[in-house]
Symmetry: C2
Subunit: 401 residues, 2 copies
């Protein structure tokens, strides 16, 4: 029977599983979850060389909000299955899954404690030369290989049915596409940007485009997206990159995931107004981030074109002009969803530490305004974007709200 | 246990059901199916005033092809459930369902023997003043009310999962969007239009647009479409209109259904080259058909706008410009899918009696060429269409292949 496990119960549970910890060393358990939704335990063998695993258990509600916002336990199944699917599409890019328990809504996976959360790394102005290639390819492989381009029609439709994920979709629909543009009690913004936050609700041009993107999110079952691919769902070392937490996965536009990555890099880009007191250092790191965005898209496109050539099973689209048209559509969706995800992180329910950790109120407000300006440009003008350089020029051009 | 019923077994089956036939008159059974897929029995009480019902049973294969092409029995559930959903959305426009038997993959419904198949009626140049209003409203109601505009997000997603319908979708994908444009053994065309049929396979501009429409059909879960709404799925009397056979139903672009209606009217329009020897009479009926197309769209749009006003539950789209944008997109999809459906009926596996019944080979070829010319215009130039008059002008303009 389901119940939320304590740290001690997690130890007992893991100990009883065959093959996971075969030694006699005591097991230590620690709840380390800093996410919004679930319980996350690290269980490790005592001692310097001890093995460790992560036990992630879904709660029947949203952790940061409490029992007043119930949330399906089925998200543990979705997350655990999608990790395995993603590992098949792009081996080694997600944590290995060792065990799933449907009743307890928990699964056990590889511990990535030596990795750093990408968001934190970017706040500290670290550089990751492999990141664009790792994430660009991950996006291309997981999105292309779960689409009608690579899956037989009946198999793809079965997967669509298996990952309908209505409750987590509803959460995204509300907090990303609806709340920021109306007077929702869930909204939350700093008083210094009140004028800008309120102006979003009157911005007909922006709201029209956000509505189109919302309906696209609701209706276009293009590929099995991660569904929440911000920089807090990515872990890095100096050489490696891992993607975690795909519990929001469902069939949606490919640009939703790519836009999440790029939008979150752009949030960090704006935040360096507050984090880098030296303007030269700031400008340099912001240029590094712009190069990272270009790299993510270029590796995505390169891998997507290569999969198109090698793994395409749909003969109808094997025709001049089609692939370019598809890539332009994905890029425009990417720009639009990136913008939506940036706006909601500034004025909506869940903020990002890139901006929240800026101590100076004025600088934080400046950073947040820059994020809103860039976000609006991407959403409203995305139809003008046909290459990644167009997107970058749009970011680098002047703008106001 | 499932087995295909004989006429006698159908009588026994119906007799054993409580409440259907309460009298003592003998029951007569007759297999009357002229469709491609299923067995259809009429069961009636002997005598002039006798009641009658239709028993429709799915076979585990496609009837016209035989056991070599297996086909899911689950289509009986989908058809029978969707008839009930459509009756809720637009009461009285589909036959009433009395009974469903999951094991035998059959259901029992209202007998519409006094109705005429719309396709047959159009071949005989009959006129139906109520048809545009009935079908236009049916389209608006069934499509709008099953979309994210009218259904709570979680409920719509449950319905998407319930009507995934992979096998019948695969059939549509292949015979509508793929076969006509390649050397498929399922294709079939008259020798007099061989040049035109073969030229489709080399027509890069057309194939590119058909590929885009195919991917839209594969990925856009906009509304619960009928899925096969040609004029053989519509029955009429002088005053009434009914829609039958929604076994291909799934969540797809709204324009797929509207395009099926308009495409099939245009097939009939082209066929009158062969059916009306008097050019004046022909021109007059063709104008009548063009008016019918205009009427179907206008009643669709009127009802859609009215539902938008009264039944919209999605606040984000309640914004200037959005509804016009949606209607233009639906109209362009309508044009594209109409064209695809016309082409496949001329060169693909399953033809239409509008064209097949033309005795004169030359006139039939002329009719078929006109259908192909109009179809190509709609597919390739659909982005230029923003009003129904644009679509009609496109049909009435000169063209060639």
């Amino acid at each position: 029977m389901y119940h939320a496990l304590t740290e001690d119960e997690v130890v007992e549970y893991v100990r009883a599983l065959p093959g996971l910890f075969t030694g006699t060393a005591p097991l230590l358990s620690r709840e380390i979850g800093d996410g919004n939704l679930n319980m996350v335990f690290q269980v490790r063998e005592d001692g310097v060389e001890g093995r460790s695993v992560i036990v992630k258990q879904a709660l029947p509600y949203i952790r940061v909000i409490g029992e007043s916002w119930p949330m399906t336990l089925d998200r543990a199944r979705i997350e655990c299955e999608v990790l395995q699917i993603q590992n098949e599409y792009d081996p080694g890019r997600v944590p290995k899954v060792y065990h799933y328990d449907v009743e307890l809504a928990l699964f056990i996976m590889e511990d990535l404690s030596e990795y750093m959360i990408m968001r934190k790394a970017l706040i500290s102005r670290k550089q990751y030369p492999n990141f664009p290639q790792h994430i660009g390819r991950f996006l291309a492989r997981t999105l292309f290989l779960s689409s009608d381009y690579a899956l037989e029609s009946g198999i793809k439709k079965q997967l669509v049915g298996r990952y309908i994920n209505p409750e987590l979709c509803k959460l995204s629909e509300d907090v990303i596409f609806t709340d920021p543009y109306c007077d929702s009690p869930r909204n939350n913004y700093h008083s210094l940007i009140e004028r800008e936050a309120l102006s979003l609700r009157q911005d007909i041009e922006l709201k029209l485009e956000v509505a189109k993107l919302k309906v696209k999110f609701l209706t276009q079952a293009q590929a099995l997206v991660h569904g929440d691919l911000h920089t807090g769902s990515i872990m890095v070392t100096d050489t490696d990159t891992r993607v975690i937490d795909p519990e929001f996965a469902f069939f949606a536009p490919m640009g939703f995931d790519i836009g999440a990555v790029i939008g979150n890099i752009l949030l960090n880009h704006a935040a360096h107004i507050g984090h880098s007191s030296d303007p030269l250092q700031r400008g340099e790191y912001q240029q590094y981030l712009i190069g990272m965005i270009r790299g993510v898209w270029m590796f995505f496109e390169e891998e997507f074109r290569s999969l198109w050539k090698d793994r395409m099973i749909e003969p109808s689209v094997n025709i001049e002009g089609y692939l370019n048209d598809v890539l332009i559509n994905i890029l425009q969706d990417t720009a639009g969803f990136a913008g939506c995800k940036m706006i909601r992180r500034v004025v909506g329910i869940a903020h990002v530490s890139d901006l929240e950790s800026i101590a100076d109120e004025q600088l934080r407000a400046e950073s947040e305004k820059l994020a809103l300006i860039n976000a609006r440009k991407l959403v409203v003008n995305r139809a003008r974007i046909t290459t990644i350089n167009d997107l970058i020029e749009m970011i680098e051009s002047d703008g106001s709200l």
